[in-house]
Symmetry: C3
Subunit: 381 residues, 3 copies
Amino acid sequence: MHFAILTSVEHNIHLPEWSLSHRDLALATDAKWSIRKFRLMGGKQDGVDVVEIDNGQLVLSIVPTRGMAIHEVRRGAIRLGWDSPVKELVHPKYIHLEDHGGIGWLEGFSEWMARCGLEFSGHPGLDHGRLLTLHGKIGNIPASEVVVSVDLQPPHRIRVRGKVAERWFNGPQLELWAEVSTVPGSASFRLNDLVTNYSDREQEFTVLYHANFGPPLLEAGSRLHGTIQKIVPFDEAAAAGLEGWHTYGEPKVNAPEAVFCMYPTADAAGKSHFLLHNAAGNMGVSFSFFKDQLPYFTQWKNENSLNNGYVTGLEPGTGFPHNRSVERKYDRVPKLGPGANRNFTITYRLHDGPEEVAAEVQRVASLQKGKVELVPSVIPK
Amino acid sequence: MHFAILTSVEHNIHLPEWSLSHRDLALATDAKWSIRKFRLMGGKQDGVDVVEIDNGQLVLSIVPTRGMAIHEVRRGAIRLGWDSPVKELVHPKYIHLEDHGGIGWLEGFSEWMARCGLEFSGHPGLDHGRLLTLHGKIGNIPASEVVVSVDLQPPHRIRVRGKVAERWFNGPQLELWAEVSTVPGSASFRLNDLVTNYSDREQEFTVLYHANFGPPLLEAGSRLHGTIQKIVPFDEAAAAGLEGWHTYGEPKVNAPEAVFCMYPTADAAGKSHFLLHNAAGNMGVSFSFFKDQLPYFTQWKNENSLNNGYVTGLEPGTGFPHNRSVERKYDRVPKLGPGANRNFTITYRLHDGPEEVAAEVQRVASLQKGKVELVPSVIPK
Amino acid sequence: MHFAILTSVEHNIHLPEWSLSHRDLALATDAKWSIRKFRLMGGKQDGVDVVEIDNGQLVLSIVPTRGMAIHEVRRGAIRLGWDSPVKELVHPKYIHLEDHGGIGWLEGFSEWMARCGLEFSGHPGLDHGRLLTLHGKIGNIPASEVVVSVDLQPPHRIRVRGKVAERWFNGPQLELWAEVSTVPGSASFRLNDLVTNYSDREQEFTVLYHANFGPPLLEAGSRLHGTIQKIVPFDEAAAAGLEGWHTYGEPKVNAPEAVFCMYPTADAAGKSHFLLHNAAGNMGVSFSFFKDQLPYFTQWKNENSLNNGYVTGLEPGTGFPHNRSVERKYDRVPKLGPGANRNFTITYRLHDGPEEVAAEVQRVASLQKGKVELVPSVIPK
């Protein structure tokens, strides 16, 4: 395995620039892969690190400074990402999570994939008298260790791994090892995360993969497919639009947000499957995850105007995005014993062209068991 | 036009040092002008950028890292600026606006000119249940783009322009292009700002030019002149000292602050004119602005001791410094439609010697229409 | 005197690296002394400066970026320091003191010696309607000036001095000159701090030396000795364990914290003396301070598990760690007049081997006057 340390608290390393490519390392692949790290400059993103993997087909940009978030993934014209009103990858030093009643997180919300957690996630509010801020801290903690590895054996998987520590005296001692990996030439990539409780106390935790999709995958007529048992509206807007959960409307100024709580089903391997594609059905993204790792799925429709952030969040999680005080009531707040850890794996694939999309629609449909149950009333708080 | 990019999020540029001078660029002027950028080091100002324009007569220091504030302007012994108890140009990463009930802004308050706004400015307090912090965010946001230009045609205006973005998901998408410019050899400089609403929603906004004057322009016997229709006290201290609004006392420990709300008049060109000069009348600064752009003017007298910050604020604005919840009641909170923008121009001139000052006193007096109305009771909230 | 400026706001200096040693400067000592400055990289400690003094016997690491805190002191296997759940020397830009109801300080709590103060210290809570945050601001303010000096005359004292400014418009203008010094080859070092009020107002202030000891000095059977007149429990846990104040138990998950308020006595020179040693009595640390400078002493027993932060705080101070609103009631909040200052000196010595420890136990015992009074009821609030 070829291995490089880009950032390390342990070894006092923090490279501003670094790169490795097929020209440096001969692998049994024709793919013109490369990996490079660079640092953003100016404005609120000054000092933010980005690690970009180009596997020859996909380009992924990972942001260690923002909790190993993924800014964008591209396959030609297909993009995982969105056009947030927040135009920079904001450095955590400018984020004050408790601001505006606990929604300071929104001042930095611009990535395709922001992890929410680890001590808590979901809506801001009091839990046992303490203000829990929107979507937790992990997305605004810079990685303490960042390593890149390339397998010298086929299929030559490229991995970027980062350790993000959410620690506090008298508070949690949770650490995330976040891994993003892909194989040269592939249209697919994988998240493989490990969350560990280093405290000697049992610790509640939560993980929500806040993946956000804008154009071109999102447009009027885009469709969501999934292996789903039941859908319950999170809010009144979702209750009103329950029948049309799987379709999207066009961008509209001040369109209300609608959030749907979904209970995925699993295939024989324990996996749940989802697919989003555009109206023409010639661009899509599918993803699968293990239902026992991530038993809940949140669909966030924000069909606001393009300037105001037209986006849908497709979010596997350990729970729904209520405040932890609500989630705990319904047993959706898992715990980790002293020293215990939990693994989370999600695989994404980008589909280019009507054949690829149609085949995937077919595949997901074949895995769906029966009809989706639509519960008309809003999920209890 | 000669043009240089010093900072750019768009181009990933952030130069720590840069300079240009009459030695590099031949212009049709004898003025020994220069422009240089440098970075401050140590303490709370570590990493703060300063761009200094020396036009051969005036020296202006601009602080892109603090929302394009202007630290000081000097013409020989004349200084626009003051001696704040805050001794450094504090990096925004150390400012927590919500601290101490929303007055965290005061931990970085030390410049001659701090812009207040853009979503809100004025006193901290709740507006529709949300805490609006003292004087808003714009003064603690680092510029995303900073460009310098020098006109190759006479009079060879030198411009420093910076873009400061106040953006937030589900919040405002306001951007300021702040421009400071001057002509080689001149005793005058100009602010020329553009505020744009990039949201598809109509957006309230506010701009207040918090310009702060200490010694030598401020001393016992200094005088303020202006084309003023009406003065209304903002507080009881101003009501008690209403007749003496135009004069200043000597520094005095724990002297109460007094704030005066002024309604300027405009000349035939639509401009309002103000002038501050020292007791001897041999040093002064005058400034003018368009009344339809900045219809309100706040005079802040803080005649505290020299160590505690002896200073007067002379502040043209779109409103007075109440909380927005108050200003809205009195129609002093303007709005920008989707994509709309608003321009603000203020011209300053430094006057050296009794002749220059006397001429300017004369000029402002000649533009005043009738007697200033002094309203004895405090302005309603 | 040999002199070097490592950081200076005044001179715009901030050296990332620097060193000086016995190889560079010939002194009349055989000790292999050295001083070096380096910068930490990665995670939340990226950009934090450390100045390390190795006097040939002791190694001290000082953290100018965190208010001149002392991370660790080592003499061979003896360490002053502890294993906090917070694993990095967190940069102040990541600390939000008002978070979690005013305990944000705990997100950066990991040093052997953190100074608490200057405007206030102690527990968070309202004082005259304002939230005072846990242990004040000084520990999260980066030093504005850092200088190193080495006396060219024997005994060649090495000094690291840093200025930390706690300033605020309309707030306090307190400055700390913190000095850590030692003599080549010595097992001892000295803190010598000066706190000055630069305001023209009288100013309340507080200093608490939050020195934290974990293994190997802390273990089951470790003992604290001191010249003590009276001990009053701060909380119920201390009241319950009052008789055993001087001994420590083994680490235990979720062991309650216990805090003891101590009133030291002074010897003929005005000094109070304390000593902590391990169970075997072959490793120890003693320290002395002037009772008129630091009349109160707080012992914090946190006998939690090793992972959760097994530690004892031995904390000379100008008061006890209640909120200032409580301390004021009992006249434990000193004031500084305009321009006035106050000096604080503490001398530490590390004892290696049973002979050194036994001699020191003997010495402290000989200075104790009579029996320690144990007050059974919790100190009033």
